[in-house]
């Protein structure tokens, strides 16, 4: 049972890290970036490929993976979002353009086979792979009847540290204040001389870097990397997390992530492994019906 709680914390950390990127974009742009789960997968896939196919040490591969994810953020902004902003498109359009990009990214990895166009990125096609043992030192400890693997355990401090750093940046630095200004009132921000376009690019870069990192940690700790890990694990769960926590709220995303991890493990223990997925969405549905703004979001009211 306690082992399960530990697992809940591990997986919750991943959910939280992923959701923070999701909610950051929604908070600042009022847009759901549905390519985020594809970037999650891309970070993992690229890092794996660099280690296994290109013989890079893990740390370098991981850094490159994060960098590539951050770069993807720029792609998302310039390809999917900015053209729509220029055309004053409604927010739903961004939903669809990011879906399109996600399709492209997943398909590209899916088609990564030896000899294909994308073999530099990935050669395992639709298969699921794991980092070979020994990629990173992974001591395992046993305390009582708990098994602690270093790779899993480290997720927690890494995630928490990142979220704290992000929180600090948002609250106390000029850049963070600028981002919050854009989130609250883009017009006022412009009049104060902020370059709103650049702020938005920055938002996407940070968000995607976090998403890619979450993917790398996921792949490392859970030994599952395939073109579908984004879709299967975080795409919809990420939505559940930010709904629970409150869309646009970073603390909400963090708490929501752990909350969801906990809910799922509880469901697992109570109802068996099959109930796990369904419970998350039942929770999501209930929250939207009862309290759409989530735990930490703000109440929305239309002016008549």
């Amino acid at each position: 049972m306690d082992q399960q709680i530990l697992n809940a914390i591990f997986i919750g950390s991943i959910y939280a890290l992923f959701a923070v990127g999701y909610t950051l974009v929604f908070g600042i742009l009022d847009i759901l970036n549905l390519a985020h789960s594809a970037v999650f997968m891309l970070g993992a896939a690229l890092t794996y490929s660099l280690v296994v196919n290109h013989g890079q040490p893990f740390w370098i591969a991981a850094l490159l993976g994060i960098a590539a994810s951050a770069l993807m953020g720029l792609v998302i902004e310039h390809v999917c979002l900015r053209p729509l902003r220029r055309r004053h498109a409604p927010p739903i359009a961004a939903l669809i353009s990011t879906i399109g990009l996600a399709l492209v990214i997943v398909a590209a990895v899916e088609q990564g086979k030896s000899g294909s166009l994308f073999s530099w990125l990935w050669v395992d096609g639709a298969n699921s792979v794991a980092f070979p043992a020994g990629t990173v030192p992974n001591p395992t400890w046993h305390i009582g009847d708990l098994t602690l693997e270093a790779s899993k355990v480290l997720i927690i401090p890494i995630s928490i540290a990142l979220m704290l750093i992000l929180g600090y940046v948002m609250r106390f630095t000029q850049v963070g204040r600028g981002l919050r200004a854009v989130a609250e009132n883009p017009r006022a921000a412009r009049l104060m001389g902020l370059d709103v376009d650049r702020m938005i690019s920055l938002t996407l870069v940070i968000s995607s870097a976090l998403g890619g990192l979450a993917g790398i940690l996921f792949g490392l700790a859970l030994g599952d990397i395939s073109p579908y890990i984004g879709r299967d694990n975080v795409e919809v769960r990420g939505l559940a997390v930010i709904v629970l926590g409150g869309m646009g709220s970073i603390p909400g995303a963090v708490i929501g992530g752990y909350l969801l991890g906990l809910i799922e493990i509880l469901a697992l223990v109570t109802f068996g492994s099959n109930a796990r997925g369904g419970v998350a969405f039942a929770a999501l549905f209930l929250m939207l019906v009862l309290r759409p703004q989530g735990l930490f979001g703000t109440r929305l009211r239309e002016r008549i």
Binding site: Q174, R177, G178, R180, A181, E184, N185, R187, A188, R190, L191, M192, G193, L194, D195, V196, I304
Partner: protein
């Protein structure tokens, strides 16, 4: 008695938006409802029409009780309304908008539709005929019918909204600021329309800011302030009521108001239109840091600014005055780079404003303090100020500049760690101006700084503006409060419907009789 309100109350959190209002509206009358910003007028309307729930009190439309009914049921009972911000169905044609208004009276035709092919059926013809009649009754020609609502000029959109409301064949029509944003002749047209509709027997409840419009058209007027009704009587009684004058008209302590501008106000505005050019225009400066030539700006089909030209020299205070909707804010937003003009040029010290990025414009020293203050409510006063130094950051002196600004506005210093949203309106305005100053403006654009402020706050704001000017900042001021603006301005331009009607020195215009009657109430 057609409409009876009895001790209606509605509060939001700690704010008593409607605080025990009772009102009777006689059948066949035109009842006015006025009050300053935030007095609770629109909230009261929302309660009556079912968009917000009654918290206590009751209302009746003849014998039908309204409290507790949802909005669509109240509409079904016969209360129609228009909205402050115009809520037309933008993607439909004018005709379709009116047709939708007939929904309640239309029989359900699902089965009939399924059973036939698209043949023009009898009752649809009838409805279309009725719709055109309704358009005509509000003064819209039948050519307007097939046009998309979004493409219609502003005045026509307001009329269309009324036509749609009339399609309900209501017992009571509530008009929420129907003349907002209209120029004097459009206002006159609206006034005539309201009178015509009333002459046909329709009871009307008219809510508006424009004292002159309301006084001129209504048989009885009720005045709200801070959610309470402070007066209720004939226009004459209400306009001479000292409580009303103090609450509503206080625009400057020193100004004596014997009576509110009377029913002829709208005519005076037209006089100004006609007097255009008869007042000696002040000489435009030779060397200007801001040079606007033949600027034209549109929103879709609506031309907000037409061929406007003016100049501002370094060190001046120039004022743009005119009614709501005249195009003044549009001009400022274009100068700030938020809107691109259709044609014409605007140059600030060599920088082409029509094509420059907004952030670049601020960096060069053209800073706007926007209408409605637009501060970041969720961040603290200090954070707002620190953000404002973004554009003109220069290390250590930033701290000093912030302290200097706080010295100028001591009240902000006291409140520096509070969230900006918790400040009063006047304090927020101070914050907005302080923020503007921190961007080291060479030209400061002020958009309606006194809007919605209590009289003594207005005094403070204008005092601050004068101080800033004395320190050497050039100011371009947009104001509805013409008296104040002209009193401190070196030169001023009168703008109506996007065009400059008059220009002159502040003094000249202040004493121009037509301007006085139209904008200064005598």
């Amino acid at each position: 008695m057609l409409l009876r309100l009895d001790d209606v109350r509605r509060h939001f959190g700690g704010v008593h938006a409607v605080d025990g209002v009772s009102l009777d509206v006689e059948q066949g009358s035109i009842q006015g409802l006025i009050g300053p910003n935030g007095a609770g007028k629109t909230t009261l309307v929302n309660v009556i029409t079912g968009y917000t729930r009654f918290q206590s009190g009751q209302a009746w439309l003849e014998s039908d009780e309204l409290s507790g009914l949802p909005a669509h049921r109240i509409a079904g009972l016969g209360i129609a309304r228009t909205f402050q911000n115009i809520r037309l169905f933008k993607d439909l044609t004018a005709l379709e908008n009116v047709l939708i208004g007939m929904h309640v009276r239309r029989r359900d035709d699902t089965l009939a539709q399924l059973g036939t092919l698209p043949v023009f059926r009898g009752d649809e013809q009838e409805r279309i005929k009725d719709a055109y009649a309704l358009l005509e009754s509000v003064g819209l020609p039948s050519s307007v019918g097939p046009r998309h609502a979004a493409t219609l000029p502003y005045g026509d959109q307001r009329r269309l909204e009324i036509a749609r409301a009339l399609a309900l064949r209501p017992r009571l029509l509530i008009l929420d600021e129907p003349a907002a944003g209209m120029n004097p002749s459009e206002k006159q047209g609206m006034r005539e329309l309201i009178e015509r509709l009333n002459a046909d027997g329709l009871t009307i409840l008219l809510i508006d800011h424009d004292m002159r419009l309301v006084m001129g058209v209504c048989r009885r007027v009720a005045v709200l302030n801070f959610g309470k009704k402070i007066a209720d009587g004939t226009p004459k009684e209400v306009s001479t009521d000292p409580t009303v004058i103090k609450a509503y008209l206080g625009t400057g302590g020193e100004r004596e108001v014997r009576s509110a501008p009377g029913a002829t106000g709208v005519d005076e505005e037209r006089e100004v239109e006609q007097a255009a050019g008869s007042s000696p225009a002040a000489r435009e400066p030779e060397k200007a840091i801001l040079d606007v030539e033949d600027l034209t700006v549109s929103y879709g089909a609506i031309v907000a600014v037409r061929g406007v030209s003016f100049r501002v020299a370094a060190g001046e205070i120039v004022a743009l005055i005119g009614a709501n909707g005249a195009g003044k804010s549009t001009i400022l937003n274009t100068l700030s780079g938020l809107i691109r003009p259709e044609s014409g040029t605007a140059t600030f010290d060599g920088l082409d404003l029509a094509n420059a990025k907004a952030s670049e414009i601020v960096k060069r020293g053209l800073v706007q303090v926007p209408e409605g203050r637009e501060i970041l409510a969720r961040q603290s006063v200090m954070e707002n100020l620190e953000l404002a130094t973004w554009a003109r950051r220069d290390g250590a002196t930033t701290r000093r500049r912030i302290e200097d600004v706080l010295k100028r506005f001591p009240i902000l210093g006291e409140r520096r760690d509070l969230s900006a949203g918790s400040l009063s309106g006047g304090e927020q305005q101070m914050l907005a101006i302080a923020r503007g100053l921190l961007a080291r403006p060479r030209l400061l654009l002020l958009d309606e700084p006194s809007l919605g402020l209590a009289p003594q706050m207005v005094d403070e704001v204008f005092r601050a503006v004068e101080e800033i000017h004395k320190d050497g900042t050039t100011i371009l001021l947009v104001e509805q409060n013409a008296l104040r603006a002209l009193a401190i301005a070196d030169r001023a331009y009168v703008i109506e419907t996007g065009r400059i009607l008059l220009s002159g020195s502040g003094d000249d215009l202040l004493h121009n009789p037509a301007v006085r009657r139209a904008y200064l109430g005598g």
